[in-house]
Symmetry: C2
Subunit: 241 residues, 2 copies
């Protein structure tokens, strides 16, 4: 892996030739975790498609400080379709696993889903932590577009959301159809909203809401999956279309 493959987040616009200091956490990552040196070429990105090759010009160790000079800028186009994951939250560390993996796999939007049988909700510090996890996953998977993080929602709100009007909606459901039974040519072109419920399943009321909507139930193999496994599997399957 070449140094240029090391990605660093850079909050703000950058012009060619510009010299700037990386944010502290990124400077630390560059100097301590990646152990890069003055002269190294790295990639910087702003999460909105702007990337650039930059050269490390100065490095100080206490406090850690990395100064870069922008060489060549590239604007990477946004994802061709939106993949919006609307998922109940697993407990504890499994939340981080979910956010990390689905970002690596290319979701463009994430909305936590509050269900009657939800065992975990969005904590006060979740947003900040999730943003950080998404950033790290973008760096890892070299995605120039950071996923959008939306406010927690209910199933009624998802079903009635006019903003998702043009989206094809799928819900993970052990009694649903196999993904191969769907029209893959159609799914490949449309924006997608992927719904994953809590481990205790949807309540009767929620099941009625789903049945009376146009959300297609999709089966993910023959086992009962934990929330984060179901989310990752569903994102993987639509990503491969």
């Amino acid at each position: 892996m070449s140094e240029q493959d090391a990605w660093f987040y850079c909050d703000g616009v950058f012009g060619e030739g510009e010299v700037f200091e990386l944010p502290l956490t990124e400077s630390t990552h560059l100097a301590r975790s990646r152990r890069l040196r003055v002269g190294a070429l790295v990639t910087i990105f702003d999460g909105f498609g702007n990337t650039a090759v930059a050269e490390v010009r100065e490095l100080e160790s206490r406090p850690v400080r990395a100064v870069l000079r922008v060489r060549q800028r590239t604007m990477l186009p946004p994802p061709t379709r939106q993949i919006h994951l609307v998922s109940a939250l697993p407990k504890g560390d499994r939340q981080s696993v979910l956010i990390d993996m689905v970002t690596q796999l290319g979701v463009t939007d994430f909305t936590p889903l509050r269900c009657e049988r939800s065992v975990a909700g969005q904590g006060q510090r979740s947003v900040e932590r999730w943003q950080r996890l998404m950033l790290e996953a973008c760096k890892q998977s070299r995605r120039a577009w950071l996923p959008r993080l939306h406010a927690e929602t209910s199933l009624t709100e998802v079903v009635e959301d006019k903003g998702l009007g043009g989206y094809t909606r799928l819900v993970a459901d052990p009694s649903g159809v196999s993904i191969n039974e769907l029209d893959s040519a159609q799914l490949e072109k449309t924006n997608l909203s992927l719904v994953v419920g809590p481990e205790g399943g949807f309540s009767d009321t929620e099941t009625v809401i789903l049945r009376s909507s146009n959300v297609v139930p999709v089966r993910l193999g023959d086992g009962i999956l934990r929330i984060e496994t179901a989310a990752v599997a569903l994102v993987t399957l639509v990503g491969a279309l």
Copy 2:
């Protein structure tokens, strides 16, 4: 979710009408985590396809002890095809995530892969910990067959393994073909060996070994994935065939 949906591991054969005590960790799970009571019906399984509905007959709390009586036995058939994951190991907690998720998704065999650029190997206590994780994932996903855990191996050994002679072999590779370009009718019927390399990629020597073998490179979307994400994605894709 009904009580019968709660699965407990039972090391050994059990006959109808038989009364026996659950192992300590399972008794604890039953009494403390699931808070089941005398009279509850649960499912017990031995990891080799034997399952049974059993009734809780006695519960003691200090030390915790659960005595069950077997009602109806069922022998569940083995998976129709083998899905053997041969994967480099990620670091730390990510190992647990990998083992947990791929078991939920139905791998039948797991072999840790030792590569030139591997950053993590199988620790002394790994086998015991992984067995436990697989067991918990089987309980979660209600799989009656526990995956087999094999000794750490090298790429040369995988390629030359006569035991995998009848297997179709796939390797996660960003420059490979999309899974849709493969003959899905063929893949659906054959046993599969899925190879996932380390995050630094295969070495030149290992790349030569792969190129001169019949291992098909398969692309998993457009991002660079961590080991455990790649493994989960590959298992998901072949599982959906």
